[in-house]
């Protein structure tokens, strides 16, 4: 099994994973292949490997997260790393310490891998320039969330057998979504046809230039889709600022069975979580047999194991 200590033929040429932007299709496929192996490993009774034994992984989260952080933690532990979680609350930020100061402090503790989430776009890249270890972007503002796009791709590939040629509709708050941005880049790189569906208030300006066909109605955008990716709508954006209300959003942009009928009969329903049932997705659809939302969580751990493994090739003394 290639995820184990034995060297693989796949070489990942980057020291950091800051985004999907800049990865070649072969590199993406390589990571997905590695992740396939990690899925197998994770389904065994003994899930533990020692390829990262002795390594220190610090999960540095400037923005609260439960699932991404625990997914990275579990991934590191399954590969044998010592994992430390650091949540930098808003109080520490108020004390005046900058991102770079925090990074330098942690760097002095000699970690091998830093997994970083930050609320500001570009903050993870800035930090990566200042530390001597590998950095994984676990989400920076509304910019990128590369491991989410990878786990989505893995889920699609395992269910559909391919990504090229599929029509993927990404629906909801694209404007604020790092998940959408990473997915648009990745899916384009692997040859999918990407659509984004949102009210104009939740579309980034010049959205059509991002490599997606833009729709402002679910009826048009879902027609013939193979994959439906729903995005989470943050509570504070629901009441009059970007959309008028929850009930209006659900009526026009929430995925229910009526709208789901417009997609292909075997369409997959995905959601990066956590879901707002009754806001962007109907509860019955979320629990439908076409929903692969739980599977995405499993793929999350596998993809993060693959990324850790790939970056470990660049660690000193490897």
């Amino acid at each position: 099994m290639s995820i184990a200590a034995a060297p693989t033929s796949f070489f990942f040429p980057h020291r950091h994973l800051l985004g999907i932007e800049g990865l070649t299709p072969a590199e993406i496929e390589g990571l997905l292949d590695l992740a396939d192996d990690a899925v197998e490993l994770s389904r065994q009774v003994s899930k533990k490997q020692d390829s990262l034994r002795g390594r220190t992984q610090i999960n540095l989260f400037f923005e609260a997260s439960t699932r991404t952080q625990s997914s990275f933690e579990l991934a590191g532990k399954r590969l044998g790393a010592d994992v430390m979680n650091m949540s930098v609350g808003s109080s520490s930020i108020k004390k005046g310490e900058t991102v770079i100061d925090t990074a330098m402090t942690l760097n002095a503790m000699r970690p091998d891998i830093l997994v970083v989430r930050h609320f500001a776009a570009g903050a993870v890249e800035l930090l990566s320039q200042k530390v001597s270890c590998s950095v994984i972007n676990a989400g920076d503002g509304s910019h990128e969330h590369p491991t989410q796009a990878l786990l989505d791709a893995l889920t699609i590939r395992r269910n559909k057998g391919r990504i090229a040629g599929l029509t993927v509709a990404i629906c909801g708050d694209v404007l604020h979504s790092r998940v959408a941005r990473s997915n648009i880049i990745l899916l384009n790189a692997l040859g999918a046809r990407v659509r984004i569906i949102a009210p104009s208030t939740l579309l980034p300006p010049f959205a059509e230039r991002l490599g997606a066909e833009v729709f402002t109605s679910m009826e048009d955008g879902l027609d013939g889709a193979d994959i439906i990716m729903m995005l989470r709508l943050q509570l504070e954006r629901m009441s009059g600022s970007f959309v008028p209300s929850v009930r209006e959003y659900f009526r026009f942009f929430g995925l229910d069975h009526d709208k789901l009928k417009l997609a292909k009969p075997d369409a997959l329903v995905m959601h990066p979580g956590p879901m707002n049932r009754g806001v962007e997705i109907d509860s019955a659809v979320a629990d439908d047999n076409r929903s692969v939302i739980s599977e995405q969580v499993e793929m999350g751990v596998a993809v993060r194991m693959a990324v850790l493994q790939a970056l470990a090739q660049h660690l000193p003394n490897q």
Binding site: S200, T201, T216, G240, S241, F242, V243, P244, R247, E248
Partner: protein, 449 residues
């Protein structure tokens, strides 16, 4: 398992039956949409226009009820895009019923009512309320415009999609402007997805300040704080930028100054989806008419200079001003019989809309066709209504108009509950003889039948 059987609810026909088998003969047919102007007649079947033409001038088909138009004009009923009523909340000023009676007298067959009520029409249930009340009490068509922001506060957009489904024909912030450009941008952006029309009253609230009339020589002489025309132009200019940014459909509820007209012209030249309206008051009156502090002429936007009025007429002729509205805004004596600065804004106008507008025709400023178009076809097209034209299959919302006979406005004879007319005791020429809505006669002058 067998399917549950649910009894189907029988659809009950509500409201009056559409007028059927009616022939209007001996008329001068005038269709503002096609420019048709010929002697002839018209037949109505099931509330819709069935046939029309010169053949029907003398003879109606068998089995039709015949109405002789006496050689007068027969044209589409007017659509008034800017009407305040008092229902719900200010029923002492005007109800949908009294407004509709005033409308019928004035030849207005469709009222678009503003959401400035109490509560504000910013929720589906309230749109539904207005529609049901209108169905049960009004004698002309009533369509609500819904609030574009909650409570007309200019802060949070309303449920434009759901309100549109409920029957709102357009969205507006009522008498006030959305001062916050970010809110306006998002509202326009969102409305675009539903192809909804945003109707905006344009006045920068800070610049207008405590002004009560047009800022100029007259305000200086009368010793009253003025509202500079820039207050209107600045807001309109901003909105044109936002219309360009968003690509939304935008309608300036009323313009009143020559500079505003220039802004509209430029925007239309750029191909923006913008339009504008003007009240008949601003086409026929100016600030000098306020004279000795006549509060019935206190309106918003304020009556401007004569140069502005002339520019407005010219803009109407050129077609840059799209629609004429009455701006009907009933206010009772309590809030009008006050010192000018303390009196509330507003003038009624449903009953005088057409006769007042005809002043422009009689004065030789504009042809009848284009004048009527601004009160029929153009508002209908902006609002997506099938009325406002003489066309086979269009709703038989029609009026018979005597162009010539002069009359004097007697406020006591007006149907509106409030009597704040700026044309108080004015002599007007031409008035509506008969009004039909959905093929039914809802008004005749002097009970001709």
């Amino acid at each position: 398992m067998t399917k549950p059987h649910l009894a189907k609810r029988k659809k009950k026909k509500i409201g009056s039956k559409p007028g059927d088998k009616i022939a209007l003969i001996n008329a001068r047919l005038l269709d503002p949409e096609s420019g048709l102007d010929e002697e002839g007649g018209l037949t109505i079947k099931k509330g819709k226009i069935a046939e029309m033409g010169p053949d029907l001038r003398r003879n109606a088909p068998d089995g039709f009820e015949v109405i002789d138009c006496g050689g007068h004009i027969l044209c589409p009923g007017l659509i008034d895009m800017l009407v305040y009523t008092g229902e719900p909340g200010f029923e002492h000023r005007e109800t949908l019923a009294t407004a509709s009676r005033a409308a019928a007298v004035g030849g207005v067959t469709t009222i678009i009512c503003m959401p400035d009520t109490d509560p504000v029409i910013d929720d589906m249930a309230l749109v539904d309320f207005v529609e049901r009340r209108a169905r049960d009490t009004a004698i002309v068509n009533v369509h609500p415009m819904a609030a574009a922001t909650r409570g007309l506060e200019g802060k949070e957009m309303t449920e434009i999609g759901l309100l549109q489904e409920a029957g709102a024909v357009a969205f507006t912030n009522g008498a006030s402007s959305v001062a916050n450009a970010r809110v306006m941008r998002r509202t326009l952006d969102y409305a675009k997805d539903f192809d909804a029309l945003i109707v905006h009253s344009i006045e920068d609230p800070e610049l207008a300040g405590s002004g009560v009339m047009n800022e100029g020589e007259v305000s200086s002489r009368l010793g009253m704080p003025g509202i500079p025309s820039s207050a209107e132009v600045i807001m309109l200019q901003r909105d044109m930028e936002l219309a360009e940014l968003t690509g939304a459909r935008y309608h300036a509820a009323q313009i009143s100054t020559a500079s505003s007209l220039r802004v509209i012209r430029r925007a239309k030249g750029q191909g923006l989806r913008v339009s504008c309206g003007i009240s008949v008051n601003h086409l026929t009156l100016n600030e000098n008419d306020i004279g000795p502090y006549r509060t019935f002429l206190k309106v918003r936007p304020p009556l401007r200079r004569e140069e502005d009025r002339l520019a407005m007429v010219e803009g109407l002729v050129s077609g840059d001003i799209d629609v004429i509205v009455s701006g009907h805004n009933p206010k009772d004596a309590d809030v009008k019989r006050r010192p000018f600065a303390e009196a509330e804004d507003g003038a009624i106008g449903l009953e005088t809309l057409l006769p007042a507008a005809l002043r422009l025709f009689h004065g030789g400023d504009i042809e009848l066709g284009p004048l009527l178009r601004a009160m029929t076809t153009k508002p209908a097209d902006l609002l997506g209504l099938p009325a406002g034209r003489l066309r086979k299959g269009a709703p038989a919302d029609l009026i018979v108009v005597d162009l010539e006979t002069p009359w004097v406005v007697d406020p006591e004879l007006l149907q509106s509950k409030s009597k704040n007319t700026p044309f108080d005791e004015s002599q007007l020429q031409g008035r509506v003889l008969r009004t039909l809505v959905n093929g039914n006669t809802v008004y005749t002058l002097n009970d001709q039948d």
